[in-house]
């Protein structure tokens, strides 16, 4: 009985319209990463540079949705992952990128590519390789079902550690005073 090797949970992560700050904070769990790696194995994530997403137990997503590519990646994560975790302010409420939601996209593109100082004959990029921006930046839960949320900008390493442990133990993460933050 003792020799049964627990199958490691497969975990994938990505950053959409985010700044990778949450990933940095994740790395800040430092040597506890070794404990974590006893329980999980990474699939696609910027940490491993694996580009293809396989079937996973847990997907951790930083950043909100500001363009079509973000939506494609998010949907792929939803399809491939049993559990989806939104991490950080941007993933949970749109965060900094969503500050553009007060303005129309047309106005923003005009300002950035046509009318701001120092631009000459600017063109709005229209290369088919580029993902088109959404009219409004959206948090993840408005587009796919999200199972758990770890708030913070970014959440501290301790908060991430606590939340992941809760989730790995099979219950909803609960961050008490000091760990729960929206800033």
């Amino acid at each position: 009985m003792d020799t049964v090797v627990k199958k490691k949970l497969k975990v994938a992560t990505t950053s959409l319209a985010g700044c990778f700050g949450c990933h940095m904070s994740f790395l800040d769990i430092d040597e506890r990463l070794f404990d974590l790696l006893e329980l999980i194995a990474f699939d696609r994530t910027p940490l491993t540079d694996i580009k293809e997403l396989g079937e996973c137990d847990i997907g951790i997503i930083e950043g909100g949705l500001c363009n079509a590519e973000n939506v494609h990646v998010l949907r792929e994560f939803r399809r491939q992952c049993k559990l989806l975790i939104a991490i950080g302010a941007c993933a949970i409420n749109g965060g900094l990128p969503a500050q553009r939601n007060q303005l129309s996209l047309a106005l923003i593109l005009e300002e950035v590519y046509h009318t701001s100082v120092g631009l000459a004959n600017g063109l709005i990029p229209n290369d088919p390789e580029l993902p088109l921006p959404l009219a409004k930046v959206r948090p993840l839960h408005e587009v796919v079902r999200i199972d758990y949320f770890i708030p913070g900008c970014p959440p501290s390493a301790d908060a991430i550690w606590k939340a992941l442990n809760d989730i790995l133990a099979g219950h909803a993460p609960a961050l008490g005073h000091g760990l729960i933050h929206y800033d």
């Binding site: 079509a68 709005i124 229209n126 009219a135």
Partner: protein, 601 residues
């Protein structure tokens, strides 16, 4: 000073003088300014605030609350289509589109030339002769395509409203069944004389004996209410008649006031006799603006006849008069404490209770607020006695109830029945066949399915303020509930968090289902919001805002299940449409410039 007379200055000066500079009349003043100037310009607010010595915030706060007051130009002709479900069933949306197309305007926007705007409004109380609309707050009934075309012509030709065909403004009193109240042909003063002969104490005793209960829906004992108010200490006592008949599907008060105004005013006078009140106010919903002049004429006639004013019926010390206050498009003002706030010239926000109006009502003084029908019925008690009245109806529900019947039936209109009448009896009388459901007492009431038509209209079974909307088998009960949810979201006063935000969230979810994006997840969300609205809201509006949804889910679940087209959660908005602004700006339309609603791996 400018030599050209300033119409805004003139309108403000006139209304301020008419209301003796009393800031409690600010809603009336704003309404009259709007009537004179078509909107309430910043200059009008300047002048009003100066004339009344009020902070600007006070004036703007009130002006911003009421749907019929505009602080931005909305055109010389402001068309509002009544948007109750009964209007929808009669094709109001098609007519609205037709009008917008002919006038080249977008719904909700004012035309470029500032001539006209077209939008929707909550039920205007013309359900038995709809579809209906308001032009500058005057009701037009029986709207059809030819009438829409003719109205567009009149607007384009800038014909004054007064010169429009009178026929458009015809409002019929369609009384289909009379009983003791609608059939009572009392001479003005008859009930009041009887009341005076009995005296205040005996009148209260008869009222209690009659077991008359409030007809607004809550059903509080009228005798006890009047007695509690009479016994409450105060420098003045007030009588308020609630004619803010805003519950969609209700129009009985309209007919009572049109055909039996004396009965209503006489009931208020009886109440004044019982309380020792000197002032009465009738709060008439803004949608019934067209009745204002005729009601004022009735009041004047009663003054001439010695039935109002000083020394009524020659009795020394019986001094009482009634004034009419007009609402301005706010359903919440039908809630009695919000109504009192509105009478005081404030935003119509329901008060914290207790204290109740009987001890702390208008200007914090003891006040009776009763429904139009309650006051009218009190006349019968004064005249014929409590025992006689208590003998009508059931033991817990004395007397009769007037039902406003509309929807899918051959003979919509008013039906007065003794309490205890079954739903199926009413359905048979109004010529309803193949009935799927009946919404009793409006959106905040109850939705009955076919198996429940044996139930009775009575406080002990189905209490009602009077609305009775019939839906036959063709109707989609989800669409009915969605219409009602939109109504509540529009009419929430915004005071408390659960109702202010919750009704909008609920509306968005119903729209999501309607737009084909619904999944079982959203269904669970709707149920969650229902619980919060019921448990946490400040007043009855929030508590009952989920009723139509709860009822239709329980009784017409397939109508919802048809809407839950998605197994998995989907966004409420159209993702591909969210790329449209970017497509327009970049000129792209390649495959990568679109997002499918479902994506294959």
């Amino acid at each position: 000073m400018s030599a050209i007379p300033d119409p805004v200055a003139a309108a403000v000066a006139a209304t301020v003088a008419r209301h003796r500079q009393d800031p409690h009349y600010i809603l009336q003043m704003l309404r009259e300014i709007q009537e004179a100037c078509d909107w309430i310009a910043p200059e009008a607010i300047d002048r009003l605030q100066q004339a009344l010595g009020l902070p600007r915030t006070k004036v703007e706060g009130v002006a911003g609350f009421y749907s019929f007051l505009y602080t931005k130009p909305r055109g010389r002709y402001r068309v509002l289509f009544s948007d109750n479900i009964t209007d929808r069933m009669l094709g109001n949306m098609e007519l609205l589109r037709r009008m917008c197309e002919q006038l080249w305007i977008e719904r909700g926007k004012t035309s470029e030339d500032g001539l006209v705007s077209v939008d929707t409004t909550s039920c205007t109380g013309m359900c038995d002769q709809g579809p209906a609309l308001l032009v500058n707050n005057y009701a037009i009934t029986r709207v059809d395509a030819p009438r829409v075309d003719a109205i567009c012509e009149l607007i384009r030709a800038q014909v004054e409203l007064a010169a429009w065909p009178r026929e458009y403004f015809r409002v019929d009193d369609q009384v289909r069944r009379k009983d003791v109240l609608l059939g009572a042909a009392l001479a003005p003063g008859e009930a009041l004389a009887a009341g005076c002969a009995r005296g205040a104490e005996a009148l209260l005793a008869e009222l209690k004996l009659s077991k008359l209960r409030g007809r607004g829906g809550a059903g509080f004992s009228t005798g006890l209410k009047w007695e509690a108010c009479r016994n409450a200490a105060g420098s003045e006592h007030y009588v308020v008649c609630n004619a803010d008949e805003g519950e969609p599907g209700t129009f009985k008060d309209r007919v009572l006031l049109s055909a039996h105004a004396d009965l209503v005013f006489e009931g208020m006078s009886l109440c004044a006799l019982a309380l020792g009140a000197r002032r009465g106010m009738l709060y008439l919903r803004g949608e019934y603006r067209y009745m204002l002049d005729q009601l004022n004429a009735v009041l004047e006639r009663r003054r001439q006849a010695g039935l109002l004013g000083i020394g009524i019926l020659g009795r020394e010390g019986f001094d009482f008069d009634i004034e009419i206050h007009l609402g301005a498009g706010a359903y919440i003002c039908g809630e009695e404490s919000a109504l009192i706030e509105s009478l005081e010239g404030k935003r119509g926000t329901p008060r914290n209770r207790p204290p109740f109006p009987v001890t702390h009502g208008y200007l914090d003084q003891p006040t009776v607020v009763n429904n139009v029908e309650t006051f009218a019925a009190s006349c019968l008690v004064a005249l014929r006695g409590g025992a006689w009245y208590a003998g009508i109806g059931t033991s817990a529900s004395a007397g009769t109830k007037i039902l406003s019947v509309s929807g899918d039936c051959a003979r919509p209109g008013l039906y007065e029945y003794p309490y205890g009448v079954s739903v199926s009896e009413v359905l048979a009388a109004c010529g309803a066949v193949d009935v799927q459901a009946v919404q009793v007492s409006g959106p905040s009431g109850v939705c009955l399915a076919a198996g429940e038509f044996g139930r009775r209209i009575a406080f002990e079974d189905i209490p009602t303020a009077g609305a009775f909307m019939v839906f036959d088998q063709r109707r989609d009960m989800f669409a009915v509930a969605r219409n009602f949810v939109h109504f509540f979201a529009h009419e929430s006063c915004g005071f408390c968090t659960p109702c202010r935000v919750g009704t909008s969230l609920l509306r968005n979810l119903m729209d999501k289902l309607n737009n084909g994006h619904g999944s079982p997840y959203d269904f669970a969300e709707i149920e969650k919001l229902n619980r919060i609205l019921q448990a946490m809201s400040h007043c009855g509006l929030g508590h009952s805002a989920c009723n139509p949804v709860l009822d239709t889910i329980a009784k017409f679940r397939p109508a919802y299940e048809r809407r839950l087209q998605q197994k998995e959660f989907e966004p409420a908005f159209d993702l591909d449409w969210a790329l449209e602004p970017a497509r327009q700006m970049t000129g792209r339309d390649d495959a990568g410039a679109h997002i499918g609603s479902v994506e294959k791996s």
